[in-house]
């Protein structure tokens, strides 16, 4: 059973703004019944070009309905510029968080909002389609652009995360290699800018190392039942302790050098050296 927050349950059981706005200024339909969730969003603007009325119809699980309901509450009263800045993370946060596997529900909400705004602004379907990229995941019709965006906006680093956020790779699984390739490409592209900020203060450096471990490294290790903990940072020496299966794994040294150290060098500073402390 999913662990939904009270807010998700509340929005699912008492959804706000269900239905369709008559004579809408913006309309969007995203998802499909084959994919298991779909959302139709309609809104109308007031004289000040703010969203006056917004309604949804959603086919999908509890978190899809709750995300739709939350989205409509959040953007009511906003200008289109303000509404465009709402991210899927904002929707999830409004609901007190969503299970990782259900993050795609918030992404669907964001996508519908974006398309409805485009529709309102007169961006035609065809011109939008020309820039929509090409399909990577055939099962769920997810494009490379969708994936790239999910990576950048949500700082994703594993194929599993991509599946949770976009559904890509969650069907037959034959596109998982391609997804891995996109992750590597984006991370490579993002690396120079990060590494350019090489002149870090010690506190900045420690903070970045901590963040990188948390975001990029620990989730991957945990998949194999392992874990890692930051013990100390002394100059460029990063001292860590391994936990779980890593602590007893013969390949742990290789993991430390080839994965942990490489990631930290790529994302924080090229001079870092990872050392394991035994306690």
């Amino acid at each position: 059973m999913w662990e939904y927050t009270d807010k998700v349950r509340e929005h699912f059981l008492n959804p706000r703004n269900v239905g369709e706005v008559e004579n809408p200024d913006g309309v969007a339909e995203v998802g499909s019944i084959a994919c298991g969730d779909a959302l139709k969003l309609t809104f109308a603007l007031d004289e000040n070009q703010r969203i006056k009325d917004i309604k949804f119809k959603t086919f999908g699980c509890a978190s899809a309905i709750a995300s739709s309901s939350a989205l409509t509450e959040m953007v009511k009263g906003m200008t289109l510029e303000e509404a465009q800045k709402v991210t899927n993370q904002d929707i999830a946060a409004y609901l007190g968080g969503l299970p990782q596997e259900k993050m795609h529900c918030s992404v669907m909400g964001k996508e519908a909002l974006e398309k409805a705004i485009e529709n309102c602004l007169g961006v035609t379907e065809t011109s939008a389609d020309e820039t929509a990229g090409h399909i990577i995941c055939e099962c769920f019709g997810v494009t490379d652009q969708d994936i790239e965006r999910a990576i950048q906006e949500n700082r994703l680093s594993t194929v599993e995360e991509i599946t949770n956020y976009t559904k890509a790779g969650g069907g037959c699984g034959s596109c998982r290699e391609a997804i891995r390739g996109i992750i590597d490409k984006i991370q490579f592209e993002m690396t120079p800018q990060t590494a350019a900020k090489a002149k870090l203060s010690n506190i900045q450096k420690i903070k970045m190392i901590e963040e990188t471990l948390e975001r990029e490294i620990r989730p991957s290790l945990k998949l194999d039942g392992g874990d890692i903990e930051l013990i100390d940072v002394d100059g460029n020496r990063v001292m860590v302790a391994t936990r779980g299966t890593c602590a007893t794994c013969k390949a742990a040294d290789i993991t430390l050098k080839h994965f942990v150290e490489k990631r930290l060098r790529d994302l924080v500073s090229p001079d870092l050296v990872v050392e394991e402390v035994t306690q």
């Binding site: 059981l13 269900v18 298991g36 779909a38 959302l39 119809k57 959603t58 699980c61 309905i65």
Partner: protein, 387 residues
């Protein structure tokens, strides 16, 4: 809040008589049957009784029963043993609607040089027996087909399938986890070589199951250790649970006729009332060859998870084949194999009853479910009214 438990294909309550039978084995009879002293040694006789009770439900000889820890272990032990017995042959026949205990193992074996034929089913979940027969080749080492499907309750003609396999000298295994205790099984009247059952599906505790291995069938243990189970499954006997499984099988044998009268009557009443009250709903699976306790109904244009969460508010427990509840992003492999359209598959709900269900339970669902479906449909962009 009273729990209305209609998810008995997932697991069942332990029968009060079973619980009562088990308890002394935690304090009065906790000895190890392998011990030399009488305190431990006496347990052996009690386990023997339990083995007879299990054998009796299946129409088998007690020596043909091996106690295991779960249905998955029984399935794994049967399949691996068959492969071990005849390592030259590299082909396995199974179906697309098997339980993961068989399906995932076969998927793993296909990566290890085995060729797997997954037989298709028709829109009602039935096998094509001609296709089955044609799939058996001189290289086939084993056919493994479930007796009854956990999601739809559809019953496969496994006895016929076993006879065909026997003619060709191919071992036959069946996962009878859902069938045992619900429909008659008589191993004296068929040629099935191995059969898996699980305790917690028939009112015994979780963590106990059995594998039937026909006398004369070569068996190689997966769990290697002590001499327990006559060397066919090492590990100290789980005495309380074995006693529980024995008692549960005895009760199941006594209650078998009620499954086809009392339970079936409740199921049919529930099914008919829901189909009548809710437009655009339909049953998934062959209604002619089906377990008496199971119904799998699809409600078009709504999603199963929402239905379950709303039923949960009234204490009603059921299951769904929707993607959102499976955690896999795709609807159930059983419904997909049957070609159930997506509009239907996502909104499928399984109700599975037991002898402990009452008319009040069924009335509760008949009262609560139609407005839930109506409510979710009013939110669905695909719903255009019951035209």
């Amino acid at each position: 809040m009273k729990v209305v438990y209609l998810d008995n294909n997932a697991t069942t309550q332990v029968a009060p008589e079973v619980l009562e039978a088990i308890l002394p084995y935690f304090h009065d009879f906790y000895g190890n049957p392998s011990s030399m002293h009488a305190f431990g040694g006496q347990i052996g006789a009690h386990i023997r009784t339990a083995r007879e009770q299990v054998a009796s439900l299946l129409g088998a000889h007690p020596d043909e029963i091996i106690f295991t820890s779960c249905g998955t272990e029984s399935d794994n032990a049967a399949i691996r043993s068959a492969l071990y017995a005849d390592p030259e042959k590299r082909h396995i026949v199974t179906s697309r609607v098997e339980h993961p205990a068989v399906r995932a193992l076969c998927a793993q074996l296909s990566g290890q040089g085995y060729r797997i034929t997954e037989l298709a089913v028709d829109k009602d979940g039935r096998l094509d027996m001609e296709q089955y027969e044609q799939s058996l080749t001189p290289d086939t080492v084993l056919a493994s087909l479930m007796w009854a499907n956990n999601e739809t309750g559809v019953i496969f003609p496994v006895e016929k399938a076993a006879a065909i396999a026997r003619e060709k000298g191919i071992l036959f295994h069946t996962d009878a986890v859902q069938a045992a205790g619900k429909i008659p099984i008589d191993m004296g009247k068929n040629t099935i070589d191995m059969l898996s059952i699980s305790g917690h599906k028939l009112h015994a505790p979780k963590g106990i199951a059995a594998l039937y291995v026909r006398k004369g069938t070569k068996f190689s243990p997966v769990m290697v250790g002590g001499h327990q189970e006559r060397g066919r499954r090492g590990g100290t006997e789980n005495t309380p649970s074995i006693i529980g499984l024995g008692k549960a099988c005895e009760l199941a044998r006594q209650n078998l006729s009620q499954e086809n009268t009392q339970v079936k009557k409740l199921r049919d009443r529930l099914e008919t009332a829901l189909l009548n009250a809710i437009p655009k709903s339909r049953i998934n699976g062959d209604t002619e060859h089906r377990l008496p306790n199971t119904t799998n109904i699809s409600f078009e244009f709504v999603e199963g998870e929402g239905i379950l969460l709303m039923l949960d508010l009234y204490g009603i427990c059921a299951s769904s084949g929707s993607a959102c509840t499976s955690g896999s992003l795709q609807p159930s492999h059983v419904l997909r194999a049957m070609g159930v359209p997506f509009t239907m598959a996502h909104g499928s709900i399984r109700f599975s009853l037991s002898i402990y269900n009452t008319d009040e339970d069924v009335d509760m669902v008949i009262e609560k479910l139609p407005p839930i479906i109506e409510r979710l449909r009013s939110m669905s962009p695909y719903w255009t009214g019951d035209k």
